[in-house]
Amino acid sequence: MAQSLVKEFTKGLWAEIPPFRLVLGLCPTLAVTKTVENGIGMGVATTFVLVFSNILISMLRNIIPSKVRIACYIVIIATFVTIVEFMMQAYTYELFLKLGIFIPLIVVNCIVLGRAEAFAGKNTVIPSAADGLGMGIGFTMSLAALGAVRELIGAGTLTVWGGSPIFEIGHGYIPFQFMVEAPGAFIGLGLMLCLMNLIGQK
């Protein structure tokens, strides 16, 4: 039991890490990773929704009729997204403004619905929670990594929680603006995916 739980949890961290192995949820990945901070914030919000929607869906899996299950899942997910939206508005207002439209859009993040359909709808509560948590942490790590790369190259800094950067390349560095703009997001993610494939090959 404990072993299989660990397996459900860790598969989200490497073997099926979103969005690299499961190419789902690309929109927030590309849009909010201008800085590490935004990436982590988005990742944590998505993790919250993933864990709680997975728990609730797995509890209700025998009650929900299979024909209307997708609609039911979406309503459950949308409810948790609304909760996250209000919590962020109350406690992390700056981050709320930065992420903007992408918080309500967690509803249509394919990872959340994908896990509900592929895992929570078929398994009991505890493994589903482990699955959601693992996937969420994996997603957060990916977003933070991509955010770090983009911020470091594009602005020459790394900022986590707060005004002043914790790391700066130095005054001689000329920021490569391209990386924090739209094209840099696509190319950065594409090259990171390539790197993951390269490591995974061995």
Partner: protein, 191 residues
């Protein structure tokens, strides 16, 4: 009239939904391997997005704002979109079977296309009037179709070329998309 034209141009090119706003990227990468599927998806999105844009605007102004329950926006919008997609599917199946066969599997996929939900939310956030919301929904959808078809055209060629193994498939797809996004940045000076 001039304002609406400027709005349309900026929605199609400058704020292109796929390449500048990063919405709807999953179908962008998923359905762009062939020109035909790209066209199908583009058409389905135009169709659904225009209707969803109108209906969610009406719902927001006359239901949510009138009753002071804006916190239900996320839930109600996603329900409207899901129901709309279902209705459109049934309607097309009965009355325009040709179009239905053409759009086929792309219709149900649109429910989870964040471009649809995203544009509906943008319309509300920017406080557009009904006409502006209609124009922006249409223009964003056209921009989506344009980017998708362009990308599919490039990708059909990329498949034929020899790509290093770790870069294959999605990876090279993303890099290609980045280059197209780079081209789209030149439109910024237009308006």
């Amino acid at each position: 009239m001039g304002d609406l034209f400027v709005l349309a141009i900026s929605c199609i090119f400058i704020n292109n939904i796929l390449l500048a706003q990063f919405l709807g990227n999953c179908p962008f990468l998923g359905t762009s391997k062939k020109m035909e599927t790209a066209m199908g998806m583009g058409m389905a999105v135009v169709f659904v997005l225009v209707m969803a844009g109108m209906i969610t605007w009406i719902v927001d102004v006359y239901l949510l704002k009138a009753m002071n329950v804006e916190f239900l926006r996320t839930v109600s919008f996603i329900l409207v979109i899901a129901a709309l997609v279902q209705f459109v599917e049934m309607f097309l199946k009965k009355s325009i079977p040709g179009l239905y066969a053409g759009l086929g599997i792309f219709l149900p996929l649109i429910t989870t296309n964040c471009a649809v939900m995203g544009v509906c939310l943008i319309n509300i956030k920017e406080e557009y009037t009904f006409i502006e919301a209609l124009v922006s929904s249409f223009a964003y959808a056209v921009g989506f179709g344009l980017a998708l078809v362009l990308f599919a055209g490039v990708r059909e060629r990329v498949i034929l070329s020899r790509v290093p193994k770790p870069l294959q498939d999605t990876s090279i797809g993303l890099v290609t998309a980045g280059l197209i996004a780079l081209i789209f940045t030149i439109f910024r000076g237009m308006v």
